[in-house]
């Protein structure tokens, strides 16, 4: 048998071992190629040009390469480890390490490049689907047309050739470093020796949990006013990241083992099958996997966090448009409004109109502000806000000495928290009118032209309003003091009305809410798409890595299953134990990742949108479901192993 035959035979025999490696490869290539094809596709020009999407896409593609290479290197590592016995055998019969390396390389080369081309093919078909999804999310009405891009093809080939070289290098060092003896023992020696829990380990575990909690605590304070300068904010963020990541690592290194040891001790040596399969094996493996699990947790947290934030922005597009423009269309002068109304009449579009007089007044709000405002350039003694009369708002009637504030957004409420009630002063040019501030309402009544993008609006009694109007301070007034809101009665006609609005070429002060929200959606849609793509990649790669790890583990544990089955445990008993084990194996990183991302989102979501719970929970649930698929797959694999164990 010459070397070529040997290679061929090996390939044939090992295909079963390799199928996951092939899958990992095909999947990575497909993903990358799909992405690069999108990047080079002419139909993407519109997206790229419009909002500097090109830079975002480029960054994403670099990140993608990074994830994919780590993933492939990891997969390769598992498979070379599996074949260590065979390599040892070849060495034993007198083959040199270089020759073995050559055999492995050629084998790998064949598999790798076949998978590469399959991957490119899959990726190409896949990218059409993806671009359709993309256009859907960003509301571009275009028929997705894709061309096979040579540029994308060449880039993919180059990138994966480089990754192949890296794989070869790791294989080479792996083979070089092994002695015949250690090659035979590789699987048992990589998992740590079984030792008793030490005091040091306990300490590390506690420190880990403490660090995570500390990070969470600081994150909840991040935008609470304790960190005022940019530098401090940056330091605080780095601190949070560092403390949470290191904490997570320590948690896996010490706490998991420490906690399971406590549980185990309490059983006094009498373990049921669930505990035998889950507790004991997790105890010994979690520690050696600490780094891997930390990476997976961090990556999951990152993916969930980013997805949540961008989905919050996308989801809130409509709401923040309502905040900025309470009516479908907002006009600021009568002339334009009349013109628009006429046009609507002509098209038979029914509408309602709201006209509100708005004046700008300084108020002294020092006594109702909860914290100091040194970080914002606002003077609490004399803050300029819009004031309207209670007559313009239907369901409010104020008494002469009361003021209510409305339209206070979450972002501002973080930086400028208000008390429930208290005395304020309305400062006219000459006169000062003392008022009792009685509460806060959430709805927005006038457009953002008047509110400096989020300051609250004061509603006062008509008499007070008259007094203020007489005593007006001309220097702080806006160009217009009239808000005209036009609401279209039938939602289906908004689109038509919007076209009329756009065709009329009004000045910038007049705003269409529809236009505003769809612009926001386009912007956020692309962001979401890119983040979603990366998030999905993160998800699938980390899921695959955990799955591979479990495959590996199940092979290692096969003898234990044999013993247990001989002792009289049924397949079902064992499988139940495995399910518990997988619940921990997959659940612990997931739950910690969810917690991390929850605190990350909580600390800064108001910078992105107006609604946090629905989008965040949706993202989390979706992520959990997709992630669980890998857990289920691994249980199925275990089932096979257990069945074959006796």
């Amino acid at each position: 048998m010459n070397i070529n035959q040997l290679i061929f035979q090996n390939l044939k025999k090992n295909l079963k071992n390799y199928y996951l490696y092939v899958f990992a490869l095909v999947f990575s290539v497909a993903l990358y190629f799909a992405f690069v094809t999108l990047q080079y596709d002419p139909s993407m020009d519109e997206v790229k040009g419009s909002i500097k999407g090109a830079a975002a896409i480029k960054t994403a593609s670099i990140l993608l390469v990074l994830i994919v290479s780590i993933f492939l290197l990891y997969a390769n590592n598992i498979f070379i480890k599996r074949r260590s016995k065979e390599v040892g055998l070849l060495q034993l019969i007198g083959m040199t390490k270089n020759k073995i390396f050559r055999i492995l390389s050629v084998e790998n080369l064949i598999l790798y490049f076949i998978s590469l081309f399959i991957g490119i093919f899959v990726g190409f078909s896949f990218s059409k689907l993806i671009i359709m999804v993309l256009f859907k999310t960003i509301d571009v009405e275009d028929i997705a047309q894709l061309h096979f891009s040579n540029q994308a093809f060449i880039q993919t080939i180059i990138v994966f050739c480089v990754i192949y070289l890296f794989i070869m290098i790791t294989n080479y060092t792996f083979i070089k470093r092994q002695t015949i003896l250690s090659l035979f023992r590789v699987t048992s020696s990589t998992e740590g020796k079984i030792k008793k829990t030490s005091f040091f380990e306990m300490l590390i575990g506690i420190v880990g949990i403490a660090l995570i909690l500390l990070g969470y605590y600081v994150s909840s304070k991040l935008f609470g006013g304790d960190f005022t300068s940019m530098n401090e904010l940056f330091l605080a963020m780095s601190f949070i990241l560092g403390s949470v990541i290191i904490g997570t690592f320590f948690f896996y290194k010490g706490s998991v083992r420490f906690i399971s040891n406590i549980i185990r001790k309490s059983k006094g040596g009498y373990l049921n099958i669930n505990e035998v399969l889950s507790l004991s094996s997790i105890m010994f493996r979690m520690k050696s996997n600490a780094l891997l699990l930390t990476i997976i947790t961090t990556v999951s947290a990152l993916a969930i966090g980013l997805l949540s934030l961008s989905y919050i922005a996308y989801y809130s597009a409509e709401k923040s448009a309502v905040k900025n423009v309470p009516a479908n269309f907002s006009m600021t002068n009568i002339e334009d409004a009349e013109k628009f109304k006429l046009a609507l009449h002509e098209k038979n579009i029914a509408f309602s109109e709201t006209v509100i007089d708005v004046i700008q007044v300084n108020i002294d709000a020092r006594q109702i502000l909860d914290s100091n405002l040194s970080q914002l350039s606002i003077d609490p003694d004399s803050m300029t806000i819009s004031v309207i009369s209670d007559q313009d708002i239907e369901d409010i009637d104020m008494s002469a000495d009361e003021t209510i504030l409305t339209g206070y957004d979450d972002f501002l409420s973080k930086f400028m928290p208000l008390k429930k009630s208290g005395p304020i002063k309305l400062l006219g040019e000459n006169e000062v009118i003392p008022q009792q501030y009685v509460g806060l309402r959430n709805d927005y009544v006038i457009s953002y032209n008047f509110t400096d993008g989020g300051l609250p609006v004061a509603i006062v009694d008509e008499t007070v309003y008259q007094r203020l109007q007489q005593d007006i301070n001309p220097t702080i007034q806006k160009p217009t003091s009239l808000y005209i809101g036009v609401d279209i009665k039938d939602d289906n006609q908004i689109k038509v009305a919007n076209e009329i609005f756009l065709a009329s070429n009004f000045s910038d002060d007049n705003v269409s809410r529809f236009e505003m929200s769809s612009n926001q959606k386009t912007n956020m849609g692309l962001m979401m798409f890119i983040v979603g793509f990366l998030g999905l990649t993160f998800l699938i790669t980390s899921g695959c890595i955990l799955y591979f790890k479990q495959m590996d583990e199940s092979e290692d544990e096969r003898p234990s299953y044999t013993i247990l089955r001989k002792l009289g445990y049924t397949e079902g008993d064992l499988l139940r134990g495995i399910q518990t084990k997988q619940l921990y194996n997959f659940g612990i990183p997931l739950i910690i990742g969810l917690f991390h991302s929850y605190f990350a989102v909580q600390s800064g979501w108001f910078l992105f949108g107006t609604e946090v719970w629905t989008p965040m929970i949706m993202v989390m649930v979706l992520y959990t479901v997709l992630y669980s698929i890998f857990g289920i797959l691994s249980v199925l694999y275990y089932k096979k192993v257990i069945k074959a164990a006796l």
């Binding site: 049921n272 089955r565 049924t570």
Partner: protein, 253 residues
Amino acid sequence: MNILEANKIAKSFGNKSNKEEVLKGIDITIKKGEFVSIMGASGSGKTTLLNVLSSIDKVSFGTIKINNLEMTKLKEKQLAEFRKKYLGFIFQEYNLLDTLTVKENILLPLSITKTPKKEANQKFKEVATELGIYDLKDKYPNEISGGQKQRTSAARAFIHEPSIIFADEPTGALDSKSASDLLNKLSDLNQKRNSTIIMVTHDPIAASYCNRVIFIKDGQIYTQLNRGEQERQSFLSDIMKTQGVLGGVHYEH
């Protein structure tokens, strides 16, 4: 009272075109409280016989009754049920779970049958003390010697007081001192607890601790030796003689 009755059991491996008959119709009866050895050259089918008798493998033909219950007709799940109640195992490679302590390993069979914890601890203490491993209870298998591992394995086989204990070359991986220690303990337990032990071995010394030795050749019973009131030494020489005739392999002592 017969605890095990096997009738004309046969076992073959492979498919039709390439069939290999390993067991060719063996009849065995074993009485309660007996300590029986099965001997034979490698390839004679002794381990297959043990696997079949202990329900780990299925027979191709024939019936096996344990406690008057016909095992050959049971489904996989019932067999598992059967194993956990009535059978105990000792293997050459110890077959301990590396991730469990000595005590946890030994208590496994009780945990399957959901024995109350107090009773389990009581039983553990008894059997572990008898086998001299009580002090090792919190150690992991990789921290103890081969002989201690095998005694742990034996304790696990005895703890739930099974009807039959199957031992597959229990002394195969032990040095002679540990081996004789273990065998002494086994025959002690056999007498004290009146438990039935079936042991496969190729070591005549190990076999000499038994009441009866069954020799297997080419998948059939070649002969049987009863110890009766004999001394162990003379029984050993009998066994060695038979073995010499059987395999042509001569032991030098």
